[in-house]
Symmetry: C2
Subunit: 143 residues, 2 copies
């Protein structure tokens, strides 16, 4: 009774996620970084030019739209983003990166990059990392 490859793959995703995520979280918060959810939102905002509608942000980020709404509240309270009305559509609103938000994101980036690099570099050869990344992106594009 051998396990199908798809099941082995899914089990691998589940396990790697549950093993690496807490380590990364600890390491980053120990170094005074931002919470992962904050960083994720700031990063996505930054790479989108600093301004995004809520629903768009919800799609790009790993969190639910609902959750994003609350995190943007927190970020706004911390002065890292600013809510802004959409003149073309009264329902929607933008999250806009403030200069300080951009600065904080830039400052936090190396901590995350180093953590990931370290945690995955320890486990896989460069070639395997590349192969894994390609396969995962292939799967995501087919989503």
């Amino acid at each position: 009774m051998s396990t199908p490859d798809s099941v082995r793959a899914w089990a691998g995703v589940l396990r790697l996620h549950s093993q690496v995520l807490p380590l990364l979280d600890r390491e980053v918060t120990a170094q005074g970084g931002l919470p992962l959810s904050w960083y994720d939102v700031l990063l996505e905002l930054a790479s989108a030019g600093g301004r995004l509608r809520m629903s768009e942000l919800g799609k790009r980020v790993v969190l639910s739209r609902t959750r994003v709404s609350r995190i943007v509240d927190e970020l706004a309270a911390a002065g890292l983003v600013q809510r802004e009305a959409n003149p073309d559509d009264g329902r929607s609103s933008f999250a806009v990166l403030t200069p300080e938000g951009r600065a904080r994101q830039r400052a936090a980036a190396p901590v995350y990059l180093r953590g990931i690099e370290q945690e995955l570099g320890r486990r896989l050869s460069p070639g395997s990392q590349r192969a894994l990344a390609d396969l995962l992106e292939e799967a995501l594009d087919a989503g």
Copy 2:
């Protein structure tokens, strides 16, 4: 500014996890299956011969030891497992699969397997599935 492969890989794990897990959850519960956490515990118990110490169970399952303790409570209340003292060590206790628990696990298995097969089969070729599984297991073994 190209993203390192390790970061691409980690982002892929994060995204695939967040996309597939809810789908799988919905699909399974819609078909009257067990909660994923229940299934995970039952499966791990079954493949270990039906009896495992709590801490061992915590290590094998994707959940924290703390969480496992509570889930075993729920499973025991549902009659699917039974708590049992360890005669050789008064601190530890066993979770033992009941016949009904074993039956429920067996009955639920095809639902999960089909769901995973479907969700990953749609996204990756058989060869890619195998390659992905191998890479993830390689990473986990190095953990």
